[in-house]
């Protein structure tokens, strides 16, 4: 963080020294009460046996919840699903978003309209995405029904009810609203590539592909690292779509780790164990993020 030079000192030194703290105090208060405290209580309950409707059994149990976790098959399968989900979503969103940003960065007639249309699913919620794709995937109302009438493929199968197709179906629905985020971020960064760099590249006789690889891509690196990181965390934590579209099914085939924790909380009220799972998820996320930032050399001079 480069800091701007502070404006000239004015007024009393003490008032000036306290001003920034006064300005951030509402935020500090909110974050401490409604974010830090809940996180702390999750860490606390991770070491407790605490089932909400059996308060007489509450006790400190040390690492027992974590031992239970290592033997819990559903934990491992939901973690594996989450990893697969994040990887598929972020890779595809990045590739499609990058391609899309490059396309709408060119000059052509109707570009403004094309941009608006292409970016529009960005603002759509997970539940609304579910509504829309339910209609599209439903054997009675969906596009497959119409395509089958035209002789393409066969209708009558529910892609969401079949364990073989449900993953791709959910991935495509989430892609629909996820790609614009990458496209917008990358387009913003594309516009800041200095024109001289392209001129120099073209003087050196570099073709389109070489210019992209040696000028555009290096310039975009930090934006791509940041976007993929934020998006990975977001896709990992995101439950709205899977909760409403598949509710983790069929037969647990699309249960992500946060979804498993949410189901655990609602069905068995086992808050102690749920807290242990949350703690594990938090640690995994943090570890992967730090590793990713290190490996990608984020923010280093090129």
């Amino acid at each position: 963080m480069a800091l701007a030079a502070p404006p000239p000192a004015r007024g009393h030194g003490l008032r000036r020294a306290l001003a920034p703290y006064a300005l951030i105090s509402p935020t500090l208060l909110l974050l401490a009460t409604f974010l830090l405290f809940p996180v702390g209580s999750v860490l606390y309950y991770a070491l407790q046996h605490h089932v909400v409707n059996e308060p007489y059994d509450d006790a400190f149990v040390g690492l027992a919840n974590f031992r239970q976790m290592f033997g819990d098959e559903q934990f491992w399968s939901s973690l594996a699903f989450s990893a697969k989900w994040v990887f598929a979503e972020v890779m595809l969103q990045l590739l499609l978003g990058l391609a899309l940003a490059l396309i709408v960065n060119e000059t052509f007639v109707g570009r403004a309209v094309a941009r608006a249309l292409v970016f529009s699913p960005w603002a759509v919620s997970g539940v609304l995405t579910t509504s829309i794709w339910m209609l599209l995937y439903n054997p009675a109302t969906g596009v497959f029904h119409y395509l089958a009438e035209l002789g393409v493929g066969n209708a009558g199968t529910s892609v969401l009810g079949n364990p073989d197709t449900v993953f791709s179906a959910a991935v495509v629905a989430e892609l629909w609203r996820g790609v614009p985020f990458f496209a917008i971020l990358i387009l913003a960064d594309l516009q800041s590539v200095p024109k001289e760099l392209y001129e120099a590249a073209s003087m050196d006789g570099a073709g389109r592909v070489r210019t992209f690889l040696h000028v555009t891509l290096p310039h975009l690196r930090d934006a791509i690292v940041l976007a993929t990181l934020l998006r990975s965390v977001w896709e990992f934590n995101n439950v709205d779509l899977l909760y409403t579209l598949t509710n983790g099914g069929p037969a647990g085939a699309t249960t992500s780790l946060p979804l498993y924790v949410a189901q655990l909380a609602r069905k068995s009220y086992d808050f102690g164990y749920g807290s242990a799972l949350t703690t594990a998820a938090f640690v995994i996320l943090l570890f992967c993020s730090v590793l990713y930032l290190r490996l990608s050399k984020f923010g280093r001079e090129k």
């Binding site: 701007a4 996180v39 292409v118 919620s125 539940v127 940041l226 934590n237």
Partner: protein, 275 residues
């Protein structure tokens, strides 16, 4: 002519073909929703004709969407006001002051992005219960404001930093206090930033589902996404209502999107995030 033709073909293959394919992928789902919302139940026409508004009547008056809509509008607007106001204060502090603990504060703001909101449901529920805020719209406003503030503030500090500090200095030389200098000089220049941050807050709050599901039980207080979920039910047969509910949920967001579209690319630029 001979040289131009292959170049034009290249442009079609490289640019317009992928763009057209992607536009189909983007637009068909929206069209499908409109189609089912606007054509009579049982129709198989691919055009919404004859046009009917019966499904909107069903969801708006029969399924309570009128109440959900009003609730969502109020919650989203208040979240917008709080997020924008606090983000302006904090963003200004981060951009224009150097203070002890600044780096730690920034790091904390970034770390909040790793906290899974869905997994905070139970502890948050307990806290709101102690404050007697379960079944109050304030629980949603507070939770949404808290979770959106960190990123909003980082974004806003980037926008403040882009306003030349000299403008403020010269106003202060002319005898303005810091607050007057801010209101008269900086604030008008922050318009794009305020629009971007405010609309992100509105959209995020409008779209929130899990907090509403968890903290509100009274149907009179419920919001649009939860109402939408009730139309999704596993054995839904009323596809018209499902689609019409979707359109109701989409309209405000589409309006806000149309309004901020222009600022979006600017607002999301990593320059603003990285500072």
């Amino acid at each position: 002519m001979t040289a131009a033709a292959p170049r034009a073909t290249g442009r079609v293959l490289r640019l317009f073909l992928p763009l057209a394919l992607y536009l189909v992928f983007t637009v068909v789902p929206f069209y499908w929703m409109l189609l089912f919302a606007l054509r009579p139940a049982g129709s198989t026409s691919l055009l919404p004709w004859p046009l009917t508004f019966e499904h909107f009547d069903t969801v708006w008056n029969g399924m309570g969407f009128r109440v959900y809509f009003q609730n969502s509008v109020w919650i989203a607007l208040l979240t917008l006001v709080f997020v924008t106001f606090f983000a302006l204060m904090g963003g200004y502090a981060l951009a224009r002051f150097k203070f002890r603990g600044q780096r730690a504060f920034l790091l904390a703001l970034l770390c909040t992005q790793f906290v899974p909101g869905a997994m905070m449901l139970i502890p948050l529920f307990n806290i709101f219960q102690t404050f007697d805020l379960i079944n109050s719209r304030w629980s949603l406003i507070i939770a949404e404001t808290t979770f959106q503030l960190p990123l909003a503030m980082i974004l806003m500090s980037g926008f403040v930093r882009n306003v030349p500090v000299e403008l403020e200095e010269s106003a202060m030389m002319d005898g303005c206090g810091r607050i007057r200098a801010f209101l008269a000089v900086v604030l008008p220049l922050l318009r794009p930033g305020i629009v971007a941050v405010g609309s992100f807050a509105f959209i995020g709050s409008w779209n929130n589902f899990l907090f509403a599901l968890m903290f509100l039980n009274d149907p009179e207080l419920q919001t649009v996404p939860v109402g939408l979920q009730t139309t999704i039910g596993e054995n839904t047969v009323d596809f018209g209502a499902l689609a019409a509910g979707g359109v109701v949920a989409a309209v405000p967001v589409v309006l806000v999107f149309a309004f901020v579209q222009k600022y979006l690319v600017q607002g999301m630029s990593t320059g603003a995030v990285k500072g």
